[in-house]
Symmetry: D3
Subunit: 297 residues, 6 copies
């Protein structure tokens, strides 16, 4: 069950509102690298965690709950960057609303026209954030990865926090407002920790040796082991890939030896049965029986 | 540029076609853990790879090209499992088409009614695969992760192959046909290698120490380091999380010390400006000026 | 900022797990009438609320926070209904896992085959909930309505809780497990209150007279008032609609009189300019100038 | 069955074409507040209306049919605003096509570059409207709400017309062309009526007392009535919400008394069974049986 | 502008309601081969038609208007097939509602359980149609093809009616109810005509010679004509494709000669610049300047 | 199975990088008229092709494989156009990176600000292409048309190449860089051939007479032939459509005679049964039995 406080997790201040920066910030809310994604991802991983005890469920729910507060910070940042934004094709930012202009201090700030804004900030939200990315594409919950395999999910979490911190760094670099920069210093630090903590869970669960390959519950004797540590080259003329850690030496899981193999087809040309007479195909797809039926026997 | 051979990368045979299994297989084609995803992910990571040389671009394109052949194998498997499937509400599988029945040998096989099938295999594809998951939801290319940060992308690739191998194991376990089981033994082996090879690239690029946190090009002195290795507890009453690798000891990147902190709000309650008069809000949203403007200054 | 407790808001117990009911429950999680939607909707309305004070922001955030706990309850209910579910085409529910079977008491319960299940509960989540509806279509955040007009948003909230309670009643009626029925008795009661509380906000903001039409900040003298309270009949032969509250008597906002009007075109046939020569159209679309240009002058 | 006339429902004229305004207009076509949505929503509500008679079916179909004409008006407005728009990176609006320029009168008009336009107006439609919103996100029919509960649906209709009229007002305010302003005066008036007519249907069906809570066919004795009129506070430290109509006094449906309750967990910590051995989870998720099984009994 | 009549375009009767057939019918409503698609496609092609006169605009709008009536017929067919359908896991179809059972005549009919149904027919629509396909995936208006090139659009229309008639034939073959079969006989006939009429427009506009290649307004001397009629073989070892109309003889547009060419790369290996220092990439992506810059000069 | 070469199919060079043109190019990658679509469409048509022999399967796979190389060319073109693009709100294109500026020759080039770019090129991809259209909407594989009817699919292919070439012509016209123009000359030529080759397959399979109507395997005596060649006028007052090839003379398939018919309703007003008592509808929807049950008998 959940509770809230009115105060933000960390201060969010905007001295020089910039409606184009508001657009950029949307990526950190509703982009696939954004906060809604990690929030829901940790929640669903936690709520569905099957394990002998609730240790990792708790870890996940603690951090999921933190992430709601990050969405809140960013939604606040979007709204503050939209103060004084233009709402018609004739206006420019911050010139539009004299009262607001005075209230905000009238300092030096970028002036943008409607053209560079996300129009839905004007037309659909009344100058506020919405759960979509910087192009206005709504967040789609298929990006909430929760596979039921905890190590697989932890790698997905590391990936999410890695692209999340990459996005945060880009938004820090693109920012010109001190308040925004300060907010990012905090959120970048949190992304650092979140990368580290999910790696720590992998480490506890056997790390890169016992934990792998995911799922480690599958008996590797059942797989065609001949191909389990082979780098397949698919260059048309057999030119090998430049040698690297991935093509020679012991595998990272300690269970095999990387080696390079030029890929060649091991199967046959597939042959499907003709269309059945009542299947809505053309007549020409139905007449002759296939002569090579090897694949289906 | 690309080339093909008519033969499959590995044999795909189906003795006992099963249209419900055809449905399950769709997840490995058009699901987010499926082959279209990794294929396009490696292609876009490769085509957009910015680096001093083309080493990793080549690695990525070699494997991306292999993955096309995996989609082909699975599409073939779907079509073969749909041979003799029912197409109307009265039929049952394999009873429907006497010619096909004879051709296929008439052995023991499961009989399924239309109800358990993916109806679009009948109505929309004429008994063939399509680029959607096992519920018929089309693959959506927002799942092609290519962030421009190579280590972040490699973690995304490991995650994709980890959930991919998990799915493959589940499909192996659900299969009752020897040909299908043999196909999965091969594809599971390839997923083993693909997990290992992307981890090897991370290793080459500094591994879990120099490579992290992603992006490692951001100067950590710019982030609020006080929070960079702190596990934030969000339990309402301050109950700490059960101690673990994520809350004590040196961090995996060797740059900090994990520690537990009970989270408390550091910011203030946010206050937004009122709605502007011409913004389509209610009158009641416009009248009073905000009295607390601290957040915007 | 947000906090959590490990205990659920209300007990969730399942005596007789039913994997098909688990499928149905997904609609209440990731359907458009479900809990993710209202949770995010109240959050974004609250975070973006522009008003002279924070009263309604607080109301919204209190209830948004409650809704996270509802998603948690339903996710738990899905996982519990999937205990003992089949994972291959040969199994039936609860026969699959003898240990689990014993643990759960072995009572009378429905036995379902994989065919009736959402296959992704097996293939993608490892027998747990995910943020999608009962057909596996992921929740899409475009359903988070937050327009910046508080009365409009409150109507959207009433609508969400009305369809939400309708869904809850249907799931109550479809349930055969006492624990599930008890959970729904609670959630239906909460939906009752949520309908009532959003209507109460409308009431405080002027109700059906001063609050309407939405937005009430637009001067109705600017609209073509002749058509503001006219029911337009579009029956081809002028047959009027059966009279009702919507076609006669004073309007509910007290600002007009409903009346019936047979609709007739008041505009002209539109004429567009021809395609420009370099626009990728066919040559035949470019040659003649339009002779009737009245619409563009 | 349906018929058409070539003339528009109301005149659509554009003196000063503006391709950026064409972009904004797309929101009223393919946005969730737009005309495609209400058109299809009323159609599906009407076609599926289950009731003792066809009265409301007819009301719905009369208005649904009117809405097709509104989409037509807006599609025409988009095309007229794109007359003379630039199609390459070097052009500016209306300078591009001298013939068109002359035809259109050469008056004072805004000049926009391609950058501010929706590029698909150039690349994909040949300077015409398409069923997407102002960011080019296609309309998705999941927004067609038709629940089978007529009062729930009417609230959804009021909400759609409320956000629709809010959008219309914003587009009126953003417009600088007299023809466009006149079109909006008409459409805003129609949105006024549509809000009023759906409220009138609610009124006929029992209004805010007998009609509620939706669905009114569910016996409220079956719900946990203790919580049916309670406002749950979720502030961490028990700070109550500011009192209002939603927390005190008789409920709007006349069936209860609003009151404030500080929310506390009434359930227990959920415990899920461990992963089954063949489920693709990690080994570590399988070993120990859960010790607390209270939730599943 | 648009009008309606209460009667359907053609009779829709269902003697033996079948809720699984209701599911199948959804494909013809909200599938990509369905009626919503062609309806909106013809409307948007008509409303945006740029041409010297309104001839084809009128043709398009006449047929678009007809298609609304087809959606109406199918929505009615879905609702009638859901009469007496089960709504809980214990029921079977038509046993559920004794009154309805008697009303409908009690004849021989298939009995289906909830498992084979589209659950949203129960949970979300109250036993009525909705604008989604047979898997419950909502129709997405990106499938409304209207390119601004009339011949391109006509080919898209022929394709839509070809897959539409294919679907209709499959649904006719799957039907067991005489009323449904009769409805399909009519709709299949209309699809025949619609294929023919769009081909007739292509014919009027120059047919397969003058009309092609689309767009015919582009001067073919601008394209690299050497490759304009060459079939490129991409078989790895140069095995040519089996000869056919597509690889020899005069082209269908009369402007070239088909011939087979084994494809070989004509370009170079692409080289991208390294990542910029502030771009959120890894340090290792930034250090060395590219040595081969030929592609960028 | 598939192979690759490092060299591109055709040279891709960019002298004057333009980040806004990079945005436009995305439409040719991930737009519905783009290369991912045709690539996957031909692959799935080929892999699922049911026919007496593999002739068309081979044709499809040869061209599908070519298309991968086109996506590669365009992805390269996007990345090259993003060299030197701005990454913050203060920069302008090509001024941003002095090293890159020098490397690229410093010639005359357009300077664009971040505002006109696709922000995700900065925030999400690190200045590279991604599988989305020019508005950042991800490609959705529901656009991969493969119906199982080969002639229907060939029309879909012609339509795809027709809109594809239209897009290519528009991008050629919008381009100002010689390298880009040269790339388009090649790709436009390939689109010419692809239109021609799919038409050639239709020709081989009976052309516009024996091949039609699609599917030609359905006995036209089963359809209501009275309406198979009738153009239905839906003008409200019976105004006929302007005569054309579509309304008079022999049909293109040679099997009928086009004629004009004013459409009139042939069915009755539909009547649905009332809502069942436990269906979550309002009480008012349940009470009276329908009096007109003609449609259901």
């Amino acid at each position: 069950m959940y509770f809230h406080e009115k105060r933000l997790q960390y201060p969010v201040k905007v001295e020089n509102p910039d409606p184009v920066y508001a657009r950029m910030l949307q990526q950190a809310i509703g982009g696939i690298e954004g906060e809604i994604r990690v929030c829901l991802q940790y929640f669903f991983q936690g709520w569905g965690n099957r394990a002998p005890n609730t240790k990792y469920r708790d870890v996940l729910l603690n951090t999921a709950t933190e992430e709601i507060g990050h969405i809140e910070m960013l939604a606040t940042a979007v709204a503050l960057n939209l103060e004084g934004a233009p709402a018609s094709l004739q206006e420019t930012a911050a010139a539009s609303n004299p009262v607001m202009n005075a209230v905000m201090g009238g300092g030096e700030r970028p002036r943008h026209a409607v053209e560079g804004m996300l129009h839905r900030h004007i037309l659909s939200t009344g100058m506020a954030a919405f759960p979509a990315n910087c192009d206005g594409v709504p967040f789609d919950c298929s990006h909430v990865y929760a596979s039921g395999n905890i190590v697989g999910d932890m790698f997905a979490n590391v990936a999410a926090e890695a692209t999340g911190r990459t996005l945060a760094v880009r938004l820090f670099n693109a920012a010109h407002d001190k308040g925004m920069q300060d907010m990012w210093r905090f959120l970048i630090a949190r992304d650092t920790m979140h990368q580290q903590q999910w790696l720590a869970v992998i480490d506890e669960l056997g790390g890169l040796t016992e934990g792998l390959p995911v799922p480690n519950s599958f008996d590797q004797n059942e797989e065609t082991k001949e191909f389990s540590y082979a780098f397949f080259g698919t260059e048309r003329n057999g030119v090998p890939v430049q040698p690297g850690r991935y093509s020679q030496g012991p595998s990272l899981d300690g269970k095999g030896e990387y080696h390079f193999v030029q890929a060649e087809p091991l199967g046959e040309e597939p042959v499907l049965g003709p269309a059945r007479p009542d299947s809505g195909a053309q007549k020409e797809q139905m007449s002759e029986p296939p002569t090579n039926t090897s694949l289906r026997r």
